[in-house]
Subunit: 423 residues, 2 copies
Amino acid sequence: MRIEILCTGDEVLTGKITNTNFSYISQKLEDVGLTVVWGTTVGDDRARLLEAFRLAAGRADAVIVNGGLGPTVDDLSQEVAAAAAGVGLVLNEEWLARMEAFFTRRARTMPPNNRKQAMLPEGAEVLDNPIGTACGFALDIGQARFFFTPGVPRELRRMLEEQVIPRLLARAGGPTTIRLKRFHSYGIGESHADALLEGIEALAPDGSVKLGFRAHYPQLETKLTVRGASPEEVAARLAPIEAEIRRRLGNFILAEDDRTLEGEVLAALSAAGGTLSLVETFTAGQIAARLGPLPGAEAVFRRAVVARDPADLAAAVGLEDAPALGPFSEDAAAAAARAIRAGSGASHAMAVLIALDEGPDAIDFGGSIYLAIATAGRLETRRSRILGGREWVRLGAVELGLDCLRRFLTGLPVNERIDFEKT
Amino acid sequence: MRIEILCTGDEVLTGKITNTNFSYISQKLEDVGLTVVWGTTVGDDRARLLEAFRLAAGRADAVIVNGGLGPTVDDLSQEVAAAAAGVGLVLNEEWLARMEAFFTRRARTMPPNNRKQAMLPEGAEVLDNPIGTACGFALDIGQARFFFTPGVPRELRRMLEEQVIPRLLARAGGPTTIRLKRFHSYGIGESHADALLEGIEALAPDGSVKLGFRAHYPQLETKLTVRGASPEEVAARLAPIEAEIRRRLGNFILAEDDRTLEGEVLAALSAAGGTLSLVETFTAGQIAARLGPLPGAEAVFRRAVVARDPADLAAAVGLEDAPALGPFSEDAAAAAARAIRAGSGASHAMAVLIALDEGPDAIDFGGSIYLAIATAGRLETRRSRILGGREWVRLGAVELGLDCLRRFLTGLPVNERIDFEKT
């Protein structure tokens, strides 16, 4: 099935907003094994919209139109869809009632403008939008089925998931139970992961499992799409493959599906009744900022201290009289972690000290990272070196710190080599 | 002039990477008064690329093609461009020599693959890429002039600025000296700014100044595009208008052009020979993380302390024996700022304490922000309330803190009301 995504709106066309809806839709379709072959973007212009609808109707089997369902005069999707299909617009009384109820629940009167949102092309099938006033709909134009969706991202996402994808899968035929399984890792690059997972798709019969990656430094997402006739069949196919992926990627998998690295760290600390304090230098509070605002962090996150200068840092963690913390080293990190742990009464403490290279920022600019994690009875330290410019070092050090914490808390080696390190 | 942007590549089409190049190109063209009327995205597929080139050649005057200039077999732009134009591919000896020198400078031998990047359609005009091996080029296909650009963002950006835009402006005719002036503000919404700047375009003759906005919460960017026959004419037209914008937006302008809020704060502290310490709660180190990693911050940024619990916070800033810091208040913020200033020896200290609402995250979830900035002889405090969900509160509080610091350091009122506050 050839699918086209057609994004509308002056704000998207002129770059005033970045079109994240396009990549979101495209990715979601890929995740269920559907393939987008064409993308089109046009503004709020009747003639160009009509031309875009006609072109898409001629070359695609299914078209997802995004945007243009709002109440204002520049929202043209229904009107142009009707023109392209050669039908009129009719008031959908049911949707009008839904909108009126929507406003009533919010103690407001529906503005007359919004009535426009209930005018649909004759013969259109309604696609429910339980969280907004834009009415989605599906309609045949030429040989293609068009699915009209709202531009508001959270409304689009829900409608895509609940209304559009099931209809597309039904039209595509074949097994329609599909599951997306995701593994998040830190420390292996995409080509390395690809090599480690060679042959994984062949463990399932006849192409029912598809492997993919999405790299967003410093993390890598490994995705498995599994298809089958029923949830039971999908689960049975997935089980041995996910076990094999866990075996091959091993300690590098930091979380699965919707879970996050910082969420796993917080969960492990919460489960152990632990509390955490942090010492940072060049990362300047970014490790703390990943953990500190999470729901539940108020019971776990005890204290973070940031300083750039070794003497300032020593004073900030109460080590004025001890040997200085500079130049930074694993010993200095251990001393800083122990000091903040003692000073704050936390069960766990981590210090991440970074000695930046001298000179201007450049692609080979690097930093040496000295890390220590301490509890009452245990200390682990690590030295790492990351190149790639100031920002790359900063991002890498934040992730390295959080991942070492995860490893420490879950009994995995803190010192396993990663692909991003230079020696 | 009708301009089309044609993005190529499977990674963009499948949503594996978000297409930020599209919005970047579109916005840059808008900024110089050029208008994009159509956007197309296709994958690395010969037949579809050829079809896309033919459609664009038939409806646009100029087409910017992005991607497909790399050395691998799925980079098809030169080949398909030649086919669409009905010409052959010829080796550009000059570019081949440039590439060989590029690799030699890096002490590497050019892989044979890369030779492909010097094969250009016959009659193509080279568009220089001083920072990569992908050779840009321009070529007529049908009635349209096509500009082929690399997919690597930093290479695209430079080529667009130096090679493509000047050629487009020359083709468009009219005054070709164009200047983009930008003002960054915090605290006024887009519609409020629009109202404040009503009539501003009319201060310049015959449409030579265009006003635009780009909102990215919590900041708003106000953009002026000024056209004229010469740099002197542009400067003369811009001068009274930028003065008027500074007058109308006043204290809300936090930086201009490429400068940033955190950069201005750091510059003001550096100029005064000052140093800074910070106390944070729910923002959890994010204010520190905006300032701490900047070049030059090592001489200014003294210390940051983060805690979520009032008693922990009191201990962390050395206030164990003083009145407790909770519940948070302006007085507590003042005590915390004074304590960390004294403890760290900084000339300036700011504390941002946040009392979050109870209950689950929702659109009306809010937080009360208590802020204090202290020096040896001066203390300013502020109370603010922001609604919109946990993340909205966090982002707003980070920006509010940095902006209050800017105001404090530059002699502006710290307590001026902003549009995002609720009372």
